[in-house]
């Protein structure tokens, strides 16, 4: 028999179907693990509220600096009143509570670097679904602790908010938060999977965090940016992580623009699901080619 020669297999690694009961167990165990270090977890969650105070003071200083002599405080900055600006900032905090994924990319890259990823090649469990469920558990634990402080902050700052929007807007706002979670998850997973090629991706995460900081609308409302930046903001998906949900709540995006925004976000999510699957597939082929 001639010696069979083999090149890198191009066959797709099968995606492991995970039953609902298995998914529930993964979620439950990840949640339990998350709650193990109670002190660190509670402190970490609560300390995230500290920047709110500094940010409110910062915007107060900005508005005062450009104040009119009559009122003592500027009416608007780039179309935002001081109250709107604070409300916007608080809403982006809420948006980011859904879309930010602390430690996700670096965690995946570490799995690859340390070889722990082998577990997911050997056991009948899908890495991407497993990390997704773990992240849902992670967020659930976070919300359970952060819900109280969030409610308190929103209550204390209720004066900054416009009257509560319609139920339909609130529903769409909730949808944008959930889509923001999916988008943030698949973006960071794709970033983490680059670890198959680079091993160390901390500089990549730094660049991503920097772009995220400015172009998600976390620092300031994106409609403050001039038209020369608008094309970039519209071209990349970062706006959906913070600006978009806040703008929907504040009624700055409505009607056709809102429908178009959600459609674009959905397209981005589908594309990123595809990208993360492809990266994982190619990454595993590369990994298994390199001796594991």
């Amino acid at each position: 028999m001639p010696a069979p020669i083999l090149s890198a297999p191009s066959l797709p690694a099968p995606i492991v179907p995970t039953s609902w009961s298995a998914s529930w167990t993964i979620f439950r165990i990840a949640l339990e693990e998350r709650l193990t270090y109670r002190g660190d977890f509670a402190l970490g969650t609560l300390m995230r509220f500290l920047p709110i105070v500094t940010q409110i003071f910062l915007w107060h200083a900005v508005f005062t600096a450009v104040s009119t002599p009559v009122t003592g405080i500027a009416k608007t900055v780039a179309g935002y009143t001081y109250e709107e600006m604070v409300a916007y900032y608080l809403l982006t905090m809420l948006g980011r509570a859904f879309s930010s994924m602390p430690g996700l990319s670096s965690g995946i890259a570490r799995l690859i670097r340390t070889g722990e990823i082998k577990k997911f090649l050997i056991q009948p469990v899908d890495l991407l679904w497993f990390t997704f469920l773990s992240r849902v558990a992670h967020k659930t634990a976070y919300y359970s602790v952060a819900a109280g402080p969030f409610a308190l902050v929103f209550f204390l700052c209720r004066g900054y908010f416009p009257p509560l929007p319609s139920a339909a807007t609130l529903l769409l706002f909730t949808l944008t938060l959930l889509l923001g979670f999916l988008l943030g998850y698949f973006m960071e997973v794709s970033l983490g999977l680059i670890g198959f090629w680079w091993l160390e991706i901390s500089s990549l995460i730094f660049v991503y965090t920097l772009l995220n900081f400015f172009l998600s609308g976390h620092m300031f409302p994106l409609d403050m940016l001039g038209p020369e930046w608008q094309w970039l903001v519209q071209f990349i998906p970062l706006q959906y992580l913070a600006y978009f949900p806040a703008a929907v709540f504040l009624g700055k995006i409505t009607g056709a623009a809102l429908a178009w925004g959600i459609a674009c976000e959905l397209i981005w999510i589908v594309a990123l699901v595809g990208l993360s699957r492809w990266l994982f597939h190619r990454g595993v082929i590369r990994y298994s080619g390199f001796g594991g």
Binding site: P4, I5, L6, S21, E32, I122, G291
Partner: protein, 355 residues
């Protein structure tokens, strides 16, 4: 048997159909090779800077053409020096890496296709890698395994209880894994790996770093478990005691090739160049220049131990006996550890006895 060997580049469906009806051994490996590029960095800052834009790679041939057949219920040890290709072979068979060329089938599956049917039928335990959730009690990890391996609840409980009883860890199930000792953790790793009753078990140095008692416990457990379940086990270990206690068959791998495949005692016959002769002399009759007869391992008059080339044992003994004064004599094989260490050293110097 050879008639159902296939080229791995064929579609997966073709493999499955072929394998379904072929009688076969549990593990069949033919001409398996694995090489990969390894980055070569010279020492020093200058080399590190040069490495920023130009890197040198070396082709590492981890496995260089292995042929091996293992039948169901065999307990096979892979022995070899560090870097011999043992772990790479286990990684190939568990589908973590794919080969450069060659074929392998385990339970009728091509491992690196990573079919789910195959993943549910084998387990890999690596002594230095942790698959349990570090901050949670082991029983939570076991529950997770029950779900992902789809083990029926009653079967899961039965297997878990049996394994925890055999390994005497019943009272540790609810303790976080991070608080267990290394030996206890290894036991939990084994339980996690065995819950789904795999047909094939790959053990990569399962007793590494354990104390003598823990090593012995795990050996006893593995022995009993393998005999009861008749599973096929491939084990790599640096501890000769593991191998002697567990494996009927030993495969020695060095430089990516099989150098020996047979029984443990056969290693001595094949590779041992010397024997150890123990002598007791009558008082004052010990020869002054024992070194003339062989390498002196110990000399405490009136006793002495000499290492003598195998082909000179008879001649040396008759010389000594003819000189008179020998009260007692014993001839033993050289210790297995030494034989294997010598053999590894020879292989390292490219002077393998089989080359």
């Amino acid at each position: 048997m050879r008639s159902c060997s296939i080229v791995v580049a064929e579609p997966a469906s073709a493999h499955r159909n072929l394998f379904r009806y072929c009688p076969m051994s549990t593990i069949e490996i033919t001409g398996l090779r694995k090489s990969f590029r390894a980055y070569q960095k010279q020492e020093g800052l200058r080399a590190a800077i040069r490495g920023l834009w130009r890197r040198n790679y070396r082709e590492v041939e981890a496995v260089r053409g292995i042929d091996l057949t293992v039948e169901q219920g065999e307990f096979v040890a892979f022995l070899g020096p560090n870097g011999a290709g043992k772990t790479t072979t286990l990684k190939l068979l568990s589908g973590v890496v794919h080969p450069t060329s060659g074929t392998a089938r385990v339970l009728g599956h091509v491992p690196w296709l990573r079919e789910n049917d195959y993943r549910r039928r084998f387990a890999l335990v690596m002594g230095q890698k942790n698959q349990l959730w570090w901050d949670l009690p082991a029983q939570e990890s076991f529950r997770l395994h029950q779900q992902i391996y789809r083990i029926p609840p009653d079967e899961f409980l039965r297997t878990r209880d049996e394994l925890t009883r055999l390994l005497q860890v019943e009272n540790l199930l609810s303790q976080p894994v991070r608080e267990l000792s290394l030996g206890e953790r290894m036991k939990m790793e084994l339980i996690a790996a065995l819950l789904h009753s795999p047909d094939v078990l790959f053990l990569d140095e399962p007793t590494i770093g354990l104390d003598v008692v823990a090593q012995h416990n795990i050996q006893q457990f593995l022995k009993q478990y393998q005999q009861q379940r008749n599973v096929t086990v491939l084990l790599t270990s640096h501890y000769m005691k593991d191998v002697a206690a567990l494996c009927q068959r030993v495969v020695i791998i060095a430089q990516g090739q099989i150098k020996y495949d047979g029984s443990l005692s056969g290693i001595i016959d094949k590779f041992s160049q010397t024997k150890v002769v123990s002598l007791t002399f009558a008082e004052g009759r010990m020869p002054e220049r024992l070194v003339e007869f062989g390498v002196v391992l110990a000399c405490e008059p009136p006793k002495a131990r000499l290492r003598i080339p195998r082909n000179k044992v008879t001649q040396t003994l008759s010389t000594l006996l003819s000189q008179g004064g020998v009260e007692d004599v014993g001839v033993e094989d050289a210790p297995l550890d030494e034989v294997i260490a010598d053999m590894f050293a020879q292989v390292h110097d490219n002077k393998s006895p089989t080359d």
